[in-house]
């Protein structure tokens, strides 16, 4: 569930199709993961979680897996 949410958030931030987001999607290997896309992603994630991310959490986001992990974390 959270993985689908993560994928959706990432696809929207990167403005690409959901199907284009592979399991290994990461900032390093994804051309569409631009600086502006990254900004959109973090803001969307904060909106979804209803919190301002702690610096360590925001700085750790570099992949789909990182986004999914944050969404799955108990709140």
């Amino acid at each position: 569930m959270s993985n689908l949410s993560a994928r959706t958030l990432l696809a929207e931030a990167l403005e690409i199709d959901l199907a284009a987001i592979g399991d290994d999607a990461a900032m390093e290997n994804f051309e569409a993961w631009t600086s502006v896309a990254h900004l959109r992603l973090i803001l969307a994630l904060e909106e979804k979680l209803g919190i301002e991310l702690a610096p360590d959490d925001a700085l750790a986001i570099q992949s789909l897996e990182d986004v999914a992990r944050l969404l799955a974390r108990p709140r």
Binding site: M27, E28, W33, T34, S35, V36, A37, H38, L39, L41, I42, L43, P55, D56, A58, L59, Q62
Partner: protein, 197 residues
């Protein structure tokens, strides 16, 4: 790209696929540039209040860069030489370090890897010509666009400086900063990988 001759203290000129990246001088104080440095949205990322100086004063300030221990590079789009943003570089010769910061003023270039491309040329210059060993930057921890660019260029996060500066914009608020750095062997490895692919 071809490497142009340069000696310490002279303006530097670098070239990438899309940009000329060169030391800025008094003649580069354009109306757009003056708008950017007076723009709170842009200056907020540097935690600097909007500049209030006149174009003449800013031209004078640009003259203070000695092209030896400090530089202000402009990124000019080829072939029209339109300035889209600038990089400030402060060098510590003793420890072979440089601190780099960036402002892309022309918003049409946001999200188009202008920072990666132009800063790539600056990194080559700092490592190859100035023989530096480490380049670092310190964006605000909530400057997510800048952070993405550091990550994508291979910079590593050294840590977070918590409550490190007083906010220039919100009274009583202290700001966190992230420290990113890139060492010579890391940059060389990226270049070798790019060449091989």
């Amino acid at each position: 790209m071809k490497r142009e001759p340069w000696i310490t203290g002279m303006p530097a000129r670098l070239e990438t696929e899309r940009f000329i990246v060169r030391s800025m001088g008094p003649n580069d104080v354009t109306a757009n540039y003056m708008k950017w440095i007076a723009d709170p949205e842009l200056m907020r990322n540097l935690n600097t209040l909007p500049f209030k100086q006149t174009p003449a004063e800013e031209a004078q300030r640009l003259k203070s860069y000695d092209n030896s221990s400090n530089f202000q590079f402009g990124a000019f789009v080829k072939p029209d030489n339109e300035l889209i943003g600038f990089f400030q570089v402060r060098i510590d010769r003793r420890h072979k370090l440089a601190e780099v910061s960036v402002v892309i003023g022309n918003r049409d270039w946001w999200g188009r890897d202008a920072v990666l491309e132009a800063r790539g040329a600056i990194l080559d210059f700092l490592f190859d010509r100035l023989k530096l060993e480490k380049i670092w930057g310190m964006p605000q921890a909530r400057n997510f666009a800048a952070i993405a660019n550091y990550r994508k260029q291979g910079f590593r996060l050294e840590g977070v400086l918590r409550g490190h500066n007083e906010s220039a914009y919100e009274k009583g608020k202290r700001l966190d900063f992230a420290v990113f750095s890139l060492l010579r062997p890391e940059w060389q490895a990226r270049r070798d990988k790019a060449k091989a692919s």
